[in-house]
Subunit: 307 residues, 2 copies
Amino acid sequence: MDARGEPHRTPASLAHRVPDLGALELLLAVARLGSLGGAARELGITQPAASSRIRSMERQLGVALVDRSPRGSRLTDAGALVTDWARRIVEAAEAFDAGAQALRDRRDSRLRVAASMTIAEYLLPGWLLALRAARPDTAVSLHAGNSAAVAERLLSDDADLGFVEGLAVPTGLDSVVIAHDHLIVVTAPDHPWARRRRPLAADELAATPLILREKGSGTRQVLDAALGGLARPLIELSSTTAVKAAAVSGAGPAVLSELAVGEELSLRRLVSVPLSEVSLARDLRAVWPTGHRPTGPARELLSLTRG
Amino acid sequence: MDARGEPHRTPASLAHRVPDLGALELLLAVARLGSLGGAARELGITQPAASSRIRSMERQLGVALVDRSPRGSRLTDAGALVTDWARRIVEAAEAFDAGAQALRDRRDSRLRVAASMTIAEYLLPGWLLALRAARPDTAVSLHAGNSAAVAERLLSDDADLGFVEGLAVPTGLDSVVIAHDHLIVVTAPDHPWARRRRPLAADELAATPLILREKGSGTRQVLDAALGGLARPLIELSSTTAVKAAAVSGAGPAVLSELAVGEELSLRRLVSVPLSEVSLARDLRAVWPTGHRPTGPARELLSLTRG
DNA sequence: ATGAGGGCATAACCTGTCTTTATGAGCAGC
DNA sequence: GCTGCTCATAAAGACAGGTTATGCCCTCAT
């Protein structure tokens, strides 16, 4: 323990300051049902367990969350706020769970989906969650890979529906555009480009070394096409996350899907640089073997993706 | 165990299917550092603990996450995907933590913020996270209430900076617009309005009983002003969450801030109904006592909110 | 080649948290 | 005043996750 009240240097990781998922779920149930015992029943635990768990959560957070009365429990003001923040965590966990479940069901599932990385990372969990709500008994399996791998799985009948983000639709597949994505140029907030008001022109972008995904990635293909194959790499990294991390740390400007940097932009860890003359839009498409129009669960999933 | 492979009726709550936060943080550290032992050191645990924890996470998910080799550990394809989903949970947990910490520091903090509910729920955690990144040593306290309560706190010097979402700026306060919010009409996907292509007119909206926040709430004020005080309540509920839940369950159309329903819209649990002739825009403003321009941390927080 | 070092696995043991069961007490409505 | 709902407290057991102590494998440099 620190003897004097100085701030800890090792701030006891998040897991020690944030209640675990079970406690958060319990809190949501209490908020919804207005009763500790009721929430306990819903989660299949006993009332004392629920009471003690909520109490220890209040101790951990240092804030009273519920007003307990002999005829029920209501949230305090702070409790209502905490509950809303907790809901965010639980929703992220639900998306995680939907994805993990699809990943686990390696074979013999009723709906087999193949998707390229960006879509699998950022969009599919939400869709799977919605699909599960609409068709709880449909088991879904997911395989992630690049466009070519998706096409191969579809053509060898190892997948029922695919999602790709490339420029061209692989031959032998039919497709429909389900969304549009834009690549954007981002920098750390202290980079000179971050303060720039005048849009960046294509030749400026092409002349500047950038943090990029490796050649062959969907992102890189679109950028090279837009600049005429001229993009100069400062570093080449093999995952979106690595590119983001490098950009945040100030290594230089990076080119990324807007899907990947929503959080970073809103927290201003990264700043978007305006572009002119360059269209870095790309279509996100659902694909299937020519002729085999999606039916059943595949059709349902497809309809969920077009909002 | 179920004897036959029927789906469980009690699907062992989320917490049993999603690894806990500590495990997810560990996985992120392994992904970043490429080594179990390194990740263990970073989190202040021993290498066997990290190894066992990752292993039990793989058992829980039924998917191999890392390739362990005598010269380090790399993520598998599935592991990369899982790691990205895990990052979402951890980010939500960081926002939760930032908010909770602000809620805990009831007094004597360097920066005291008062905010109305919608802002406190949906925007502040992200800002606090960014502020913590920029100024790690600034202790922030947060108090949530309606516009009048925010004004009172500022004027009695119980808060340094406020955020309100009403139509008018309380007297005695200066303000700056930091963002715009729109109220939108939403319904469950199976409601007749969900398929509507023709925009809804003001009189139609005013003629229809709606699920609303109680009179006096910021949301209700804006709606009543836009419709000339004519909104007909179907039910009045005292929290955004309750309104959302009622709308999702199909009770009828609801009017809510677009900030509150992002997730529901993208998962199509709710559908937005187009409006015409009605402007339900409202400004989100930062406020402070007239004359006392924000300085120091308050100024910094303010600058973070204007993206 | 060979020794040093980094990286992972296994085993035995400890501890804290969460759980259940059992019981008591406050408030409402008939 | 009884019945039924609520929540609180106490004692005891189960289990997950942590630690220390080893050992094996691979790579790199001497």
